[in-house]
Subunit: 336 residues, 2 copies
Amino acid sequence: MTQRKPTLHDVAKLAEVSIATVSNVLNDKNNELSDKTKEKVLTAIEKLNYAPNQFARGLKTGQSNIVAFIVPDQNPFFTEVLTSLNDACQQHNLQVAVASSEENEQRQNELIDIFLAQNVSAIIVAPVTSQLAIKEEWKKIPILTLDREVANSKLPCISVNNEEAAYKATERLINQGCKRIGLLLANSDIGTTPRRRNGYELALNDNNLELDENIIFYSNLSQGTEAQVQSGYHATLKLLQEKVPAILATNHLLLLGALQACKEMNKAIREDVIIIGFDDSYWNEIFTPRLSVISQPAKEIGEVAGEMIHDLIKGERVKSTKLATQLIIRDSCSFL
Amino acid sequence: MTQRKPTLHDVAKLAEVSIATVSNVLNDKNNELSDKTKEKVLTAIEKLNYAPNQFARGLKTGQSNIVAFIVPDQNPFFTEVLTSLNDACQQHNLQVAVASSEENEQRQNELIDIFLAQNVSAIIVAPVTSQLAIKEEWKKIPILTLDREVANSKLPCISVNNEEAAYKATERLINQGCKRIGLLLANSDIGTTPRRRNGYELALNDNNLELDENIIFYSNLSQGTEAQVQSGYHATLKLLQEKVPAILATNHLLLLGALQACKEMNKAIREDVIIIGFDDSYWNEIFTPRLSVISQPAKEIGEVAGEMIHDLIKGERVKSTKLATQLIIRDSCSFL
């Protein structure tokens, strides 16, 4: 006999009805159901000793067992997070619904309002800016922030240690003899941006190097995916003109822009300019030279977020969590 | 004065309440609303001459104005489709919720059941196999298939002309003097797979070349993203051993696997093996040599899908649509 807890799916299978029908019975929702169908479902529930779980409870309380996940852009980092978040939520019979704010704050807030009107059970958001103003009605349901912290807020957050990440990468470039390191940052309003800058500054400081504002670039346009790539591209063109020997690109999209600029200017990565990016992907291994990056534990972030949101829905308290990143050194900055 | 149709958002702004509150008023849902609030919302609706649209109608009929989008894996193609689908749906006050089946048919069917239980307004699905068995209760709401057709089904579909795409790419490789062309295909159950194979076969046939089953590889494992990359990788290792001079990789993930194999075996793309992939991305431009691909109009697919699903929700009939692809020739297969 199987030891695992019976699921809604098991009930549906035994009763030979759909999951939708089981949930309708649990929810006492659909009067069109025949007594015979109801009987079959209730018998199956009894036989399996099925405990109406979060899914059923959610329906009974008028909630939807849907967790809304609001991502800011098409960065593959969020696609990776989504996959493991999906798996973790499924363990608790929660479904994840994703929508993208495309780094537009107004759109983000509209999405929260709309999901709220849809009675989602909880919201996970990677906030467009660190100044998320929490509306009173948002307090009805749990909100977890992901990847990006919100300033002066009590919202729990799952993120990585961004200072440490940028520190490690900068230190590595300094150890390799680079005294000037160009820094590509996302929009300054995003919670991770000042933290990554802090780590960079601290590493320079610890190594008695001076900060040069002229080689630090922010992505001013915050209009989603394309704008970030463009921003990394234009900043890198300038850095190459200035013969800056190393670049730290603090997200995947900025890295794409930097690589595009190097390609166009016929600059060899490693020989002409050393680059460390953020976020690992298949392409980093395939590219020549293979690319060094700060790897964020996207899979783990999704898993932890799933557990945190489940705890929040159950009414439990959760603590904000910061996971460690890993510096993966490949050819793009190996010692020659 | 602005000419555009007033939206729910405009009403919320004028009434100085949230979108959720407006929808609650329209829906007559929340008895906790004060008469004053209701009055404010109704006045704003009158002033703006706001016509309660799909969103409001949806709420009134117990539907959720959410369109569920079930993708099969983390292929960036679907992320791109999602972005424009989001935009198109927003025009009609529909929200898109995404979930991934990870190429698992049981999971896909569970997702459809669950979204149905959540009263989504419609479902867009890229079916795991071409043998999607439509359950009776699924017929309650519109279902649109995307990217992949379902055999013997009346479900409308938005897809590309896959025969033509594979034909164009194969013909181009033949014109370049390649008489043996390795073919990397996804799982044979997926609707697009036989069509892409057909195009390849037809091009060989039209050029009096014989078909060699030994250089055609299917991705047997259908367990999502990682399995496809692995499949492309192992197939390419074999093709390189056999000194096959050209490879057509019929999706982005298979292409990644092929590139990984070339890298490991120190094979130069173009000099040692000519490659054409599927799906355009930033990396194709940045890679050395720049990669040639069949570009699918992901943005347009999302836009058209948004219009089709809106029409379906309104109860209108829609016709299946096939969009054309584009063969983008870059260095990876330019004439030497």
